[in-house]
């Protein structure tokens, strides 16, 4: 459920070359990094959906193939009770992604609500909300989640997602507040106010569209954080270990001395999956960052050879027709 909903938010439609305005908006999809990231993420989402069906064995089923290295029958080897590691990872993908995306959705909603409100309304409300965000920012999140989770009798995926969201909204909210502050006094917002638009309409239709990239990058960042936190919690046995996810695989590997027995196949695949998923999301975020801040663009198309010189902003020009910077995002924009 959550996967499909949030997935749409991330992908937001495939690149559509026909409509020029659409193309401009989705230009960040053209970068190689973003495309690689989306492809990798798509692969994991696919695994999350079909994983339990394509898993060759029941992840809980024991067999007499104890602690076997990878082979044709067991691609990722087996555990000390003969369970198939590949099946555990395939089945576990769903839990990882669901928690990651649910947590990120909740955290993003919280950060937008709090950050935009603080930035737009200002005054005492801003002071209080910013202080709240800063407090949540400096409190170490992981120990807090560990404490909360260990007091609760049953720690399901949703509870973990919720706890992660509660400790991770503050960063996005801080960035959104700063961005809203700088947008609030722009001429076009003043014009909208002068024509009598309501506050809500200004926030929703004048401010929010200009925050899309920031919100998206915050969302992707939170997914990374949530996935890492969730796996960490499963690894130390705080989360529900009867549910398969990559952290649970690592938990069993660690508690059964996989390291000392040299059973590298038991913990290497899960870790690689985490790293690949994280890389995919980070690549998407780079794409968004470069979209927002054109100075960061490196190897986009023909600008591959551009060398950085002081005071000179390399501009990626593809063909005469499509300029590098959307006027709104070009580096010539006066910074407020």
């Amino acid at each position: 459920m959550s996967i499909t909903a949030t997935d749409v938010a991330v992908l937001d439609g495939a690149p559509a070359p026909e409509a020029p305005t659409r193309r401009a908006r989705l230009r960040f999809l053209r970068g190689g990094k973003t495309r690689t990231g989306l492809l990798m993420l798509g692969f994991f989402v696919l695994l999350a959906v079909i994983g339990p069906w394509i898993a060759p064995y029941d992840p809980d089923a024991m067999s007499d193939q104890l602690l076997q290295p990878p082979s044709g029958a067991h691609w990722f080897g087996t555990t000390h009770t003969g369970q198939d590691v590949l099946s555990q990872i395939l089945v576990g993908t769903r839990g990882v992604l669901i928690v990651g995306f649910v947590a990120a959705v909740i955290a993003t909603v919280l950060s937008v609500l709090i950050g935009v409100t603080a930035g737009f309304i200002g005054g005492a409300v801003d002071e209080i909300l910013s202080a709240l965000a800063n407090i949540f920012l400096v409190l170490p999140g992981l120990p807090l989640i560990i404490i909360v989770a260990s007091f609760v009798p049953d720690t399901g995926d949703l509870l973990i997602a919720f706890a992660i969201a509660l400790t991770s909204w503050a960063w996005g909210s801080r960035i959104l507040r700063a961005q809203t502050l700088s947008l609030r006094r722009r001429d076009y917002v003043e014009a909208a106010r002068a024509t009598g638009e309501s506050t809500w309409r200004i926030i929703l239709f004048e401010i929010m569209p200009n925050l899309t990239a920031v919100i998206a990058s915050g969302f992707v960042g939170t997914v990374i954080f949530a996935v890492l936190t969730e796996i960490t919690l499963a690894f130390i046995g705080v989360a529900d270990i009867s549910h398969w996810n990559w952290g649970t695989v690592l938990f069993w590997a660690q508690s059964n001395q996989a390291l000392a027995q040299g059973a590298w196949w038991w913990f290497v695949p899960a870790g690689l999956c985490i790293a690949l998923l994280g890389t995919a999301l980070a690549l998407i975020n780079f794409g968004i960052d470069e979209f927002v801040n054109p100075r960061l663009r490196t190897a986009t198309g023909s600008s591959r050879k551009v060398k950085m010189r002081v005071g000179f902003t390399p501009v990626a020009r593809r063909a005469p027709g499509t300029g590098a910077g959307h006027p709104e995002h070009s580096s010539k924009e006066p910074r407020p």
Binding site: L139, P140, P143, F225, W264, G278, T279, N293, V310
Partner: protein, 326 residues
């Protein structure tokens, strides 16, 4: 001065919030895990210990919440965090005092090291954009996506189990008595090497990326061009003009992400069974030792706040704008 006072006030409020959260968590949660522990240890606990546990975890039903709150503070200010059940009957404060130096040394040194190293590499790769250093970016991205503890597992598998170059666990050689002499310190350093390298390796990537992006942004500012036009040396422009301005957001980012980093490093301690506070937390979680868990959380939070304050002082020293009287 005003800036520092503001920051001090903010940290005071945050510390208060953390302590209050710590107070509320056991009282809001369903069930009474501590009560269960108490009844299990009945007979072994003296009345004093029972009273302090009751005050810390709100088991005294007759008292009002406010009464409980003031009691709680009174116990905290006395340094009384209850008794640890894992190390029965050692007080929690004693367990923490024993393990905190290990964590402070390991996490403090490695965090600073990775920040300095990452910022340095970031300055260069941002300044020399388009050079081979850009090839580092995908690698750092990949490394920064790896959980700290998994890198630790791999490090143990390779350097401790396979090649036996380094010990796979512990903080020092068990045959030694902790003291300030060379055999002990060298053994401690030897044991800290692998966890330290793990932390530096996984933390450094984030700083490289952040600093590089700031450098790229700052390098195209007008004042950098002016500095270049004045004929200043490349080094001077790079460090005195571009890097000095680019490092500011990185330092405030450093302060803000400390909580996150500390969370990751706690895991490294757990993997290496390093005798620090993270490992105590893991043991407390495993044994459902609530007093120890909460004590560890409080200490971690207060240390992070102190580190934040330090970062703010550095920031104030580097950024004259914060020193200007408003």
């Amino acid at each position: 001065m005003k800036y520092l006072l503001q920051r001090l006030a903010f940290y005071a409020v945050t510390a208060w919030a953390a302590i209050t959260i710590n107070f509320l968590i056991p009282r809001l949660m369903p069930g009474d895990p501590v009560q269960a522990l108490l009844s299990r240890y009945q007979g072994q606990l003296d009345t004093n210990a029972i009273n302090s546990l009751k005050a810390l975890f709100g088991l005294d039903e007759q008292q009002s919440l406010w009464q409980q709150y003031t009691d709680y503070w009174a116990h905290l200010l006395d340094g009384d965090l209850g008794l640890s059940f894992t190390f029965f009957p050692t007080p929690v404060s004693e367990v923490i005092v024993q393990s905190l130096p290990w964590t402070l040394a390991l996490v403090g040194v490695t965090t600073l090291l990775s920040f300095v190293l990452g910022t340095g590499i970031g300055v260069y790769s941002g300044w020399k954009r388009g050079s081979w250093l850009d090839g580092l970016l995908p690698v750092t991205t990949f490394i920064s996506s790896i959980p700290y503890f998994w890198l630790g597992l791999i490090a143990i598998a390779l350097f401790a189990e396979k090649w036996s170059l380094f010990p796979n666990s512990g903080g020092y050689d068990n045959s030694l008595v902790p003291a300030f002499d060379w055999p002990f310190i060298s053994s401690a350093l030897y044991h800290a090497f692998l966890p330290g390298v793990t932390i530096v390796l996984s933390a450094v990537a984030g700083w490289i990326l952040g600093m590089r992006n700031m450098m790229v942004t700052v390098s195209s500012e007008d004042y950098v061009m002016v500095a270049q036009a004045k004929g200043l040396s490349e080094r001077r422009v790079m460090f005195g003009y571009a890097a000095r301005n680019a490092v500011l957001p990185n330092i405030s980012g450093f302060a803000l992400s400390l909580g996150f980093i500390v969370g990751g490093t706690l895991l490294v301690e757990m993997v290496f069974t390093y005798p620090g506070i993270g490992f105590q937390l893991l043991q407390a979680v495993g044994a459902k030792d609530y007093p120890l868990m909460q004590g560890v959380f409080l200490i971690i939070t207060l240390s992070v706040l102190a580190a934040n304050l330090l970062a703010d002082l550095v920031y104030a020293a580097l950024d004259p704008r914060t020193r200007k009287e408003a």
